[in-house]
Amino acid sequence: MFGLHYRLERKAIGLVLGIMLVASIGGIVEIAPLFTIHQTVEDVPDMRVYTPLEVAGRNIYIREGCYACHSQMIRTLRDEVERYGPYSLAVESKYDHPMLWGSKRTGPDLARIGGKYSDEWHVAHLMDPRAVVPESVMPSYGWLARSDLRTDNLGRHLKALRTVGVPYTDEMIASASADAYGQTAPDTNFAAGVAKRYGEATNIRPFGATPNGGLTEMDALVAYLQILGRLTDAAHRPVGG
C-alpha cells in the first residue's frame, strides 16, 4: 500500500484525481438520495407559498442576519416541543430557498412565532427590544420603520423562485407588486386579489400600521414573522394524519 502511494506521490494529476474521487463519495451518498427518496419530505396538500410581501420580509430577515441569533428548527426533543411547539417537519421549509434553520440560539427559536404576538408587539419589540423585554440583548431595528419597502422588482423575485421550484403562477408573478400593497390594505380590490391568489387564510392587514401610509420594511418583516409555522398545519396533526 505504501509502495503504491510512493508512486502516486510522483504524479500531480493522479494526486488531484485521487483527492477528488475520495472526497466525492461522502457527499454523493448523503445528499443525492435526499432528492430521490420520496419520504424525505412529507406530502402535504395544504402547504402554501409565501406571498410577495412575506418574500420581501423574509429577505429582510436574511439581510439583517436574524438567523445568526434565531433558529427555525424545533428538534424532536421533549423540552423543545414544550417550549416552542410541535417539532419542525421537512415540508415546512420546502419552499425556503435557502433554508433558515440556523445554528445558534442567542434568542429563542422562531419556527412557530407566527400568531404568538400581536403586530403591535412585534413592531414595538423590533423598534426597541429592551422597551418590551428589559433583559434582551437583541439589536434595535428602528431604521426598518424609516425605510420604504422596494416592491417594483418583486415580480422578478417570484420568477427566480419559480425557476428554482416554487409553484408561483404567471398571474402571481404579474401582480406581485400590487399584491404586496394589497396584503396591507384590507377591504380594497387589491386585498381581494391577494386572497384569491394565495388563499383565504392569508393574513391581510396593515402589519406595521405605518403612520405615513407607505409600505415600509418593518411591515414586510412583521408579515413574514406572522406567517412562520403557519404555511401548513401538518405539524399539529397526529402522525400519519
Binding site: 472526497a23 419520504q39 439583517e64 442576519g65 426533543l77 434553520w101 440556523g102 445558534k104
Partner: protein, 546 residues
Amino acid sequence: MIAELTKNERNGALVILAVLTVVGLVMAVAGYADPFGIHGGLVAIAALAGIFAVISGYFAPEPTLARFGEYYDTPSKIGIGLAMAWAVFGLFVGDWVAWLLAYPNATFDAGWSSFGRLRPVHTTGVIFGFGGNALIATSFHVMQRTCRARLPDQLTPLFVLFGYNLFCILAVTGYLMGLTQSKEYAEPEWYVDLWLVVVWVTYLVLYLRLLARRREPHIYVANWYYLAFIVVVAMLHVVNNLAVPISFYEAKSYSLFSGVQDAMTEWWYGHNAVAFFLTSGFLGMMYYYLPKRAGRPIFSYRMSIVSFWGITFFYMWAGSHHLHYTALPQWVQTLGMTFSLMLLIPSWGSAGNALLTLNGAWGRVRDDATLRFMMVAAVFYGLTTFEGSFMAIRSVNSLSHYTDWTIGHVHAGALGWVAMITFGSIYALVPWLWKREGMYSPRAVEVHFWLALGGTLVYVLAMWNSGIIQGLMWRTYNDSGTLAYSFVDSVVAMRPYYIARAIGGLMFLLGAIVGSWNIWMTVRMPAPVPADAGGDQPAIALQAGE
C-alpha cells in the same frame, strides 16, 4: 513590484485590468438602482488603481535573467502583510460583536453596524481574509521550496493574491450593505462567488504548473494538503453556491436547493470548509514550518499518508452531525455521527505526528516562542478534534447544539489551532523572506504568545461554561413537571460569560496588533550584509534552460 514583471506581463496585467474596469463600469451602469451598482463601481475603482500602478512602473527596465536564480517571493511578502491587516480588522469586528452581546446598544442606529451584518464581516474577515491570505502566501513559499522550482511566472501569483483580496472586499462590503445569501461561511452573492471561481481555478492551475516544473521526483506532504485544500474547496464552493439571480443587474439570488436538501448541502459545505480550508491548508503549513523550525524531520511518513487520506475521506461524511434531531432523515444523521467518530483517528494521527516530531526538541520549544506557537497549535488541534467528535454524538449534541458551546469549540480551533499555527509560521517565515537574522523583537513574540494563549483560554472557558449552563437551563424541569426557566432567564445567565469572552477576544486582538508591529519593524530593519542564500535557491542550471 511592477519592475519585477516582464514587458509581456506588464501588458498582460493592463489587459486584465482593462477588462475588469469595463466589467465594473457595466455593472455600475446596469445596476445603478441596486447595491450591485455600488459593487460595480468598487470593482472599476480597484481595477483603475491597478492600471495606474502598472503604468507608473511601466517603463522601468525589465528584470534580468538573474531572477531565475531566486525564488519569487514578492506575492508571499504582500500576502503576509494582507493577512495581518485582515487579522487585526477581523478580530476587531469580532470583539465588537462580542461586546454587543453584553451591551447591545454599543453601536450606531444604522443597518450596517447591527449585529447581524457585522457578524459575517467578522467570520469572513478572519477565515477568508486572515486565513486565506496566510494560506496563499505560505503555499507559494512552501511549494517553491519543496519543488525546488521557481513560480512559473510573476503575473499569475499576483493575480491570484489580489483577485482573492478583491473577493474578500466585495464579500465584506456586501454584508455591510445587506447583501448576503445567509448560508453560513458562504454568504457572498452570486457574482462574487463567480469571481472566486475564476481566481480559484487560476490558483489550481498555477499550483499544477509549478508541480510540473518540480526538481524533486516526490511531491512533499505539505503539498498534498495544500492541493486538497485548493481542489476540495473548489468542489464545495461550486455546489453549495448554486443559485438563480433575480436578474443580471441585481445582487439578490435564490439558492437552487431548499429546505432539508439545502440544509444538508450547506452543512456538507460548512463542515468541510472547516476541514479543507481551516484544517487541510493549515496542516500543509504545519508539515513544512514545524519540522523546519524544530530542525527535525517529520516523525512518521506513513502516519502522514494514513492521516491525509483519512481526513480527505471521512470529513466529507461528517457534515450531517450539524443536523441531529432535525427534519433531516435519521439515517443521514447516523452516518454523520459515525464518520465524525472515525475522524478522530486521522486527526490524532496528524496532531501526534506533529508533537512526536518535536520530541527531542523540547528545549527549543521552551526557549523559542515561535516554535511554542506551533506546538500549542498542534495541542489545540488534538483537543478540538476530540471535542468535535464528542459533540457529534447525538446525545451530547442534543445539549450542545444551538448553544455557546459550539462557539467555544469553533474558537478553540480557530484561535488555538488556525491562528496559532499561522502566527508561528509567519514568525518563522518573515526573517527568511526578508533575509533578517530574526524578528525585530523576540520579546514581542513572547508577549504575543502569552496574549494569544491567555486570550484563547479565557474565551474558550467562558463559552464552555455559558454553553453548558444554557443547554441545561433550557431542558431543566421543576417538580411540577414544567420547564423551570424561561428563555430570557438563560439570556440573563449568559451575561458574565459574554463579558469574559469579550475580554479574551480583546487579549487576542492586542496580541495580533503587537505581532503586526513586530513584523513591520522587522521588515524595516536594515538588511544585514548580503549573506549567502544558504541553499535557499531554485535548481537554476536546469531552470534557465527552459
